[in-house]
Subunit: 340 residues, 2 copies
C-alpha cells in the first residue's frame, strides 16, 4: 500500500470511504426556497419546540443525526465516533445536541468549513481502520448566529447587498468503510485548507473574506491530484454567495485556472435571493451540510455528476476579534466525492 | 496488520507514533508556581506585548509552536497538519496565532480536553500514514478566559473554594512517524471520550462537572486495554483540581477501581494554591498542555515513569449556555504515553 499522502495538502483514498447515508433538516425559510422539497425535513417552527435558539440548533443536529442513522438502519451503538461542530461559542449546539448519543465525540471548529473538515478527518479515520462506521454532523441557525456574531434580531438592522443569510439547518453523514450495506457516494480524496488572510475587515462581506481561501484550496487540490477543473463535473463551494463567487473566479483566473463552467455554490442554491431578500446567498455550517445531502448527493447517485469537488468555506472571526479590529481570515477544506 | 481498534472507544498504535519534540510557555503567575523553572519560557508580561488578551493568547500559541519546531530542527514547511484549539469563542486564539505558519489547520474544540483530542487525532493521522510530521497546539489565558466565561476582571469578583484558575500558557507537540531524529516519548494508544452530564450547573465547580467524564474515560481505557490502574505509573487528569480529584476517586471507587495511588492532576501541580490563592488548582487548555511538556514528558524520558495515562478534561459550557440555565457536561480524552 503506497502512502495516502498526495502532493502538499491532499490525501487520496485507495480504500473505500463511503457516504453510507445522510440526512438534512432545515428551517422554515430554507423550506420555502428553491430546494425546499428536497430536504428530509423542514421545521414548521424555527424554535424546534425549544425555549431558545441555541437549544433549537442542538435539536437540528440531534434530528439530522437520528434521521441519517435511521435511514442507514443503524443506531448510535453502531457508530464509533461523532465528528461535530457549529458556529456557536464553544460549539454548544453540538455538545448539547449530541451528548445523548453516548458516542465518543471529536469536536471540530472550522467556522462554515466545518462540514468539510469533519468529512475530511472522518474519511482519514475510516480509511485508517480506526472506525468501521462514524458520523459527521454540523449545523447553523440564523437566529443563534446573528446573536453570536452580529446584532440582536429585534434591532431590525439593515443588511448590505454583499451579506449572506445564515442557514437554519443541519446535515448529518454516516461514513463507512464498506459499501455492502449500500452507499450514496464515495469519498476518494481530500485537500485540507490553510488559513488565508487578505486583510478584509468587513464581516458582512463573508464571501470576499473566504474567496481567497477557497481559491487556495481549489488550486492546491488541482495541483495535488494533477487535475484540471473539467475533471470535476461540479466544484461546489460552501457559502461564498454571488459576491464571493465572482471574487473566487477572478482569483483563480489570475492563477490561470478557469472554473466558471464548473463552479456552483451551496449558498447560492439555498434561497431565491430576490424573493426571499437574502442578498448574496446562504451561509453557515448548516448550509453546505444540508445542500450536499439534499441536492448534490442525489445527482452523484443518479450519475448526472460523476465527480464533484465539495469545498465548504469558513470565515474565522468572532464577535471579539471583530470588535478588536482584526481582519477576517478564511479557510476552506475540500472533499472529492464520486459516484460509487 | 490487525485492526487498530481496541475495545469500545480506544485505539492501539502498533506502529510508531512519537512525540518528537514539545514546548511549553506560560504566564507570570505560572512562572511563580512550583513548576516555574521547568517551562521553556515564562512571559515577563501576560499581555505578551500585545494590545489585548486575545492577541496575547494567540502569541502564546505562536511562540510555543515556534519553540517546539525549533527544538526539533524543523520549520513550518516540515509539518503537514496543525491540530489546534483554545477556549475562546470560534477558537480565535488558534486562528490568529497559527495562520502565519501557512500549514493546513484542523481546528479542534473539546474545551480543556482539547490537548487530548488533538494528540489523539494527530496520532491516528500519523499512524494512518496521512502525515510524517504534524503539530498539536492548545492554549488558554486567564484574562481572556475570564472575559469569555465569567466576569470582567475589574469587578474583582470573589471566587469560591472549588473554583480553578485558568492557566495562561500553551503547549505545542510535534508528532512524528519515526524516532530516527529523536523522540521524547511514544504514544501507544488513545481512548476518545463521550460527553457525560451529571446535571451539575455550578460553572465555578468545574472539577465536579468534569470528574464524571474523566471517570468514564479512565474506566473505559482500563477495560479496552485490559489493564488495571497499576499498569500505569501515573494517571494524570487535566484540570480537575482538588475538589474534582476527590470526586473522580470516589466515582471510580464506586465502579471498583482504585486509582488514588496513581492519580495526579496537572491543575494541582501548576500552582501553590495557598500562597498563590488559586483555590482548587489550575485549569484551561494550556494547563495540561504545558504540564505534559514541562513536567510529565521529562519523567517519561528519564525512565522514572514508563507508562502514563494522560487525560485532559473539558467542561462543555458557554456563557450563553450558562445564562440559559443549562447543565455543564464534561468530556475527557485519554492518551497513553510511554518511554521510547
Amino acid at each position: 500500500m503506497g502512502s495516502p499522502q498526495k502532493g502538499k495538502q491532499s490525501v487520496a483514498f485507495d480504500k473505500g470511504v463511503y457516504i453510507r447515508e445522510s440526512a438534512s433538516i432545515v428551517g422554515t425559510k430554507e423550506g420555502e426556497g428553491p430546494l425546499g422539497a428536497l430536504f428530509d425535513m423542514v421545521a414548521s417552527d424555527d424554535m424546534m419546540g425549544c425555549d431558545n435558539w441555541e437549544a433549537a440548533e442542538s435539536t437540528l443536529q440531534k434530528e439530522a443525526l437520528s434521521l441519517a442513522l435511521g435511514k442507514a438502519g443503524l443506531t448510535h451503538k453502531d457508530i464509533r465516533y461523532l465528528l461535530a461542530g457549529d458556529l456557536l461559542a464553544q460549539t454548544v449546539a453540538s455538545s448539547y445536541g449530541l451528548m445523548d448519543f453516548e458516542t465518543p465525540i471529536l469536536g471540530m471548529y472550522g467556522a462554515c468549513s466545518t462540514c468539510g473538515e469533519a468529512l475530511g478527518i472522518g474519511s482519514m479515520l475510516i480509511a485508517g481502520g480506526y472506525a468501521d462506521t462514524l458520523a459527521c454532523v454540523t449545523s447553523s441557525h440564523f437566529a443563534s448566529a446573528e446573536k453570536e456574531f452580529r446584532f440582536p434580531l429585534s434591532y431590525g438592522s439593515q443588511r448590505p447587498k454583499c451579506s449572506t443569510w445564515t442557514v437554519t439547518g443541519s446535515g448529518a453523514y454516516v461514513l463507512s468503510a464498506s459499501s455492502t450495506s449500500g452507499a450514496r457516494a464515495r469519498i476518494t480524496g481530500i485537500t485540507s485548507g490553510r488559513i488565508v488572510d487578505y486583510g478584509i475587515k468587513d464581516s458582512f462581506n463573508m464571501g470576499c473574506c473566504m474567496a481567497p481561501a477557497a481559491s487556495d484550496t481549489i488550486a492546491q487540490n488541482l495541483q495535488d491530484f494533477g487535475r484540471k477543473p473539467s475533471d470535476y463535473d461540479k466544484i461546489f463551494t460552501g457559502d461564498l454567495g454571488t459576491v464571493g463567487q465572482q471574487a473566487l473566479i477572478d482569483l483563480l483566473n489570475a492563477k490561470g485556472i478557469e472554473i466558471a463552467a464548473q463552479h456552483d455554490d451551496c449558498g447560492m442554491r439555498m434561497y431565491d435571493s430576490i424573493r426571499q431578500k437574502t442578498e448574496a446567498g446562504g451561509s453557515g455550517c448548516g448550509c453546505s451540510a444540508a445542500v450536499l445531502s439534499a441536492y448534490i448527493l442525489p445527482r452523484i447517485e443518479s450519475g448526472e455528476w460523476k465527480r464533484v469537488l465539495f469545498v465548504p468555506t469558513g470565515a474565522l472571526l468572532s464577535k471579539t476579534s471583530f470588535n478588536e479590529g482584526q481582519t477576517v481570515p478564511g479557510i476552506a477544506h475540500a472533499v472529492v466525492i464520486e459516484k460509487v
